[in-house]
Amino acid sequence: MLPFPFNVTENVRELGEINRKLAEGVANFNKLREQDVDIATTPKDEIHRVDKAVLYRFKPEVEKPHPVPVMMVYALVGRYTMADLQEDRSFVRNLLKAGIDVYVVDWGLPTRADRWLGFEDYVNGYMDEFVDVIGERHGLDAINLLGICQGGVLSLCYAALHPEKVRNLIVTVTPVDFHADATNPEHGFMNVWARNLDSEDIELMIDTLGNVPGEFTGLLFSMMTPMRSLTKYNLDLLNVLDDEKKLLNFLRMEKWLADRPDHAGEAAKQWLKELYQDNKLVKGEFELDGEKVNLRNITMPVLNVYTETDHIIPCSMTSVLGKHVGSKDYSEFVVQGGHIGVFVGSKAQKTLANGIADWLKQR
């Protein structure tokens, strides 16, 4: 006996509906080819390359963009292409339409040869060189910096160590206090997982694997929403199969998720040990190339963008930036959406880029 009413007519109808979806879905799938699932389509030019890291400039969409360009710095986890997922869900396009001149750093796909890259290489090496290149092109000594998640941490380090080269700093969904755990049990699993390991466990991981494989970080993210991850291909996909537009949206997100670069080993060690476990950034103990990263040195205008429903980097970790930086012009921009939804969600398209652009134009 079933614990809920079993209506034969209704169940037959539902079965018929599922079959219809499946039939139309199969037809839609058969029509699609890999090149139909296109992401990161906003035109851009390669400007400079150092090792595997590449600096691109997106082609401006206004005749006279804002005179101080923005360099967008993504995390080492995942690819920057999320910020330009598709034409109608592109943080980059929205910034361009708002008149901002946008550069982006593509960290590339690290191999075992990059196992020794640490935060200092990314911050004092690649970022510093790219900032100089942009400065030379535009005749500026300081540019605007925009960091996303771990890219925001890289940007905070850069701004603290080279404040004279950063005109305005924007960080989005960026962890600052790594010990500020969320009260919601569905948020902030990374904090729990990372602190569960010993320092020796992390050393063993990096020494054994070299880099942290992209599949491994992908698995960690899947564990944050376990049932969602398990039912993605049998429930979520089934729901969108018969709608070609929604199916393409789903597949574009899948394409971005599948592009999982490995995380350079030494940088991963610093990320997990010195930041997640020891919380050195807010304590002023995080060192790069022998120099302490002092957030008080961040004296340029700062805009902190975060969301209150971020399950990956809870807002308890992001919202505290204001009390650590030395800037007298600190602003917060609380937006709706999840960690990724802030950039690709439909609501965010109307607000995020325009909010940032307006803030920049006033400075």
Binding site: F4, F189, L197, D201, M205, P226, G355, W359, R363
Partner: protein, 253 residues
């Protein structure tokens, strides 16, 4: 995760299923007794115990079962002092085998914990169904039941993930997987050396040297640039900075 004392647990629709499972194992034990009685005229507790153990999932996964004998033997072999003329490759192979056993045990522990979590989730799901589903409204269709199940199971899995038990098991699983991989590499590298093939360790050393050299060059270049003087400052006009409190940027502004 706090375990519910069975004595205090409220009856749930899943209880009959669990009772059925217990009845099944008891029945098999009784069957073994009966068979032994038929064959020899007397019950054999050893045979009954063996059959019970065969039906015990923990024994299948080698948790405290027959595996403990094998890995103990291997540990004993590896613990012996090394003899100079005995091949190192054999030692490494044995170490890899031990590491693999540890990994299999840790994996089995993890699977068992996940199975327990899902069993609890199913029990909670049946309870919620009996209570009237989400928001007290009775479930009236398969999609509603599916939605209730995914919500209930997600909650159970998220809670279990953060439990001390699960975190300890996951840590053991990760460590054993890494140790096995490290041991596997050591064994392979020994074979590579014999066949004149560069090893992963050697390549890592080369990359490390290149990386350190690049870093030195970067530091030197920066020092050189500083010594030759900074570029002239060129700044577009900026509005005067004032001491301002934290501002909130309104959405849509």
């Amino acid at each position: 995760m706090k375990r519910t004392d069975p004595a205090e647990a409220t009856p749930s629709p899943a209880d009959p299923l669990l009772e059925l499972a217990r009845t099944y194992t008891d029945t098999l034990g009784s069957l073994a007794r009966s068979m032994q009685t038929m064959m020899s005229g007397a019950a054999n507790p050893l045979l009954e115990q063996s059959i019970r153990r065969m039906m015990e999932p923990r024994a299948w996964f080698g948790l405290g079962g027959n595996w403990s004998g094998i890995d103990q033997q291997l540990e004993h072999l590896l613990d012996r002092p090394q003899l100079a003329d005995i091949q190192e490759i054999d030692q490494k192979g044995l170490k890899a085998a031990t590491a693999l056993l540890e990994l299999q045990q840790a994996s089995a522990e993890h699977q068992l914990l996940m199975a327990n979590t899902l069993s609890r989730a199913f029990r909670d799901f049946l309870s919620r169904l009996a209570e009237g589903g989400k928001d007290g409204k009775p479930v009236s269709s398969w999609p509603e039941a599916t939605s209730l199940w995914t919500e209930t199971a997600n909650k159970a899995m998220v809670e279990a993930q953060r439990s001390e038990e699960m975190l300890a098991v996951q840590r053991r699983l990760l460590k054993s997987a890494l140790r096995y991989r490290a041991q596997e590499r050591e064994t392979v590298e020994k074979l590579c050396e014999r066949n004149h093939i560069p090893t992963r360790t050697e390549m890592d050393e080369v990359h490390r040297t290149i990386h350190d050299l690049k870093r030195e060059i970067r530091v030197l270049k920066r020092a050189l640039a500083k010594a030759s003087g900074d570029r002239a400052r060129r700044q577009p006009t900026r509005k005067a900075e004032t001491d301002q409190p934290v501002k909130a940027v309104a959405a849509g502004s």
